[in-house]
Symmetry: C2
Subunit: 309 residues, 2 copies
DNA sequence: GCGCTCGATAGAGGTTTTCAATCGAGAGAT
DNA sequence: ATCTCTCGATTGAAAACCTCTATCGAGCGC
């Protein structure tokens, strides 16, 4: 039964019988038969039949919802029993927004010291995708903005507030400043993330609040690419302080704090709000709580973050 | 997998392989093998082995906890899909404390009018047993005192406050009174419930609060038996008003309100606090909310009850 | 030590599951 | 219109699994 529910999860994710079967490690006829059997035992069509995959029926959508619960509980149970025997083992799949990638190591490094048998897979994607993947059990945790429209039921552990810095070369127009305003930032040629990234949308909002229209002359979805363009001296960019810190300041690149309307966006760990949590998830949450104390720029900020939980 | 989890549930309930197997509708070797397979897939012993059933291992207890979740979610899923097709159908198992049996019909009657395809099984048992059975998925809902030590996670819907009346014959010492005090009640020969019933323990407390020691000359676990003894004219008894109302006042039996310290005990519906609820449970909760309005003795009381949720 | 209860084990029989191979319907291209 | 390609359903054989009856063996009480 549970394996059949996994078939349904895979199908709704892949939207293709063959790929779903492959993802489950069975052949396509097996998956087809499994779903047909699930439909028989529940007494309702779950998959809209056609020459190709069309979608799930309303009943299918409801079953999908239950399947997520049941499958994730089953996995959590398995994991907990393994953890009871051999200590914390297993695999944590984490997705993070690109601007948070730099600080992931402050989470993973102490975690591995504490639990050496846990392996990680960390992927970079948009805040929207993180919530979608959490919902579909494709990742175990995400690191993203906490002021998102709540898409699914998630538990959030605040980590730090994102503050922005202008990345530029010392010999460019603003290169010698100790701090700059958002209005000033808009006056230099900028390279920024693409607008599908929430970070870019936040920066756009901040620039508009300063009365200017964002007009980057180069867009990319890779922070590394932006950074390398800044190094040429022909572009400047805007980056969260935590990330600029990680990339390291060479003698050709300066990071200048941007002052002005301080609409700080909190970044934190998000995990499925299932009670009780997976033992791995629980350990990660504990680690995040510890990391939050280290990452906070001031005791004040620490207090504010704690209030967000 | 799920059927194996059901085996574990049955075993922990019956504490006997043969009876557990019977409860699951399989033979004892099948249940034994199923549990052994569950142990193999989880990689841990779940049942303490001995010549007879000893108990579950710590791992077994943890798995049992998950099994309850997974099995109940699976049942809820099945039910919801059936409900989507054929409207609300199925079976509701309710347990109630004896003193609440009289008012169950104010819940079930309108429920059946609304959902004619739902059948009921209503059993009478102690408040402790109700919570235990709820925990073990043996009943779907209970009707009991709401001031219990919370044994499991339950959601409670208040129905009414229990108030006590003296049941007696018109020609007995207190038979002509409009109301009596707890101290007066203690002066007549009483027949009461046995002390394993919470109702009796409450009455004992009330009698002691009035400075008297409860000394019933007859005890039983059946309200009907108590009532029939009252009718002989040789005993009086103490009953919740709601129940006295249901049993009906013949011309040989009077119900006299007992005044004094008003430590009202709220009675209500309790259901497993699983999110989302079974469709049947959700419908029952809705019915209980409606019934609470009807049962309340005053608007004041209605307000107090609402606050308990 | 005898008998009884309980749970484990063995082996047969039947069902279910799985897979490779193939079919057939529909979409898109020519 | 027809060809072709993709996708999901179907088929049939082999393997795996599950469930049963029958029986065993350990421990408990007498």
């Amino acid at each position: 039964m549970i394996d059949k529910l996994e078939y349904l999860l895979a199908l709704s994710r892949e939207r293709h019988f063959g790929r779903a079967a492959e993802a489950c490690g069975v052949t396509q006829p097996t998956l087809s038969a499994g779903l047909k059997q699930l439909e028989a035992t529940l007494g309702a069509l779950l998959v809209q039949r056609g020459s190709r995959f069309v979608g799930l029926t309303p009943e299918g959508v409801r079953v999908l919802d239950w399947a997520r619960r049941i499958v994730s509980d089953t996995r959590a149970m398995r994991q907990e029993i393994v953890a009871l025997k051999r200590g914390l083992t297993g695999h944590l799949r984490i997705a993070a927004i690109p601007t948070a990638l730099g600080m992931v190591s402050t989470l993973t490094t102490p975690f591995r010291t504490r639990h050496p048998d846990v392996t990680f897979k960390i992927s970079s994607c948009t805040s929207i995708a993180i919530l979608a993947q959490l919902e579909n059990l494709e990742i175990d945790a995400g690191i993203t903005y906490l002021d998102n429209e709540p898409v699914g039921r998630v538990r959030q552990i605040p980590l730090y507030y994102e503050r922005y810095q202008l990345l530029t070369t010392p010999d460019s127009p603003l290169g010698d400043r100790a701090e700059v305003t958002w209005a000033e930032v808009a006056s230099v040629p900028l390279c920024l993330l693409t607008p599908d990234m929430q970070n870019r949308r936040i920066i756009d909002r901040l620039l508009r609040a300063a009365g200017t229209e964002p007009a980057p002359t180069l867009e990319s979805n890779s922070m590394i690419l932006l950074f390398s363009h800044v190094r040429t001296g022909r572009w400047s960019s805007i980056m969260p302080a935590k990330l600029a810190q990680t990339l390291g300041l060479t003698n050709t690149v300066r990071a200048i704090p941007i002052v002005g309307p301080d609409t700080a966006h909190a970044v934190g760990l998000v995990v499925p709000s299932r009670e009780p949590m997976t033992s791995l998830t629980a350990a990660l949450v504990a680690e995040a709580r510890r990391a939050a104390n280290e990452l906070a720029d001031s005791p004040d900020e620490r207090e504010n973050l704690r209030a967000l939980q």
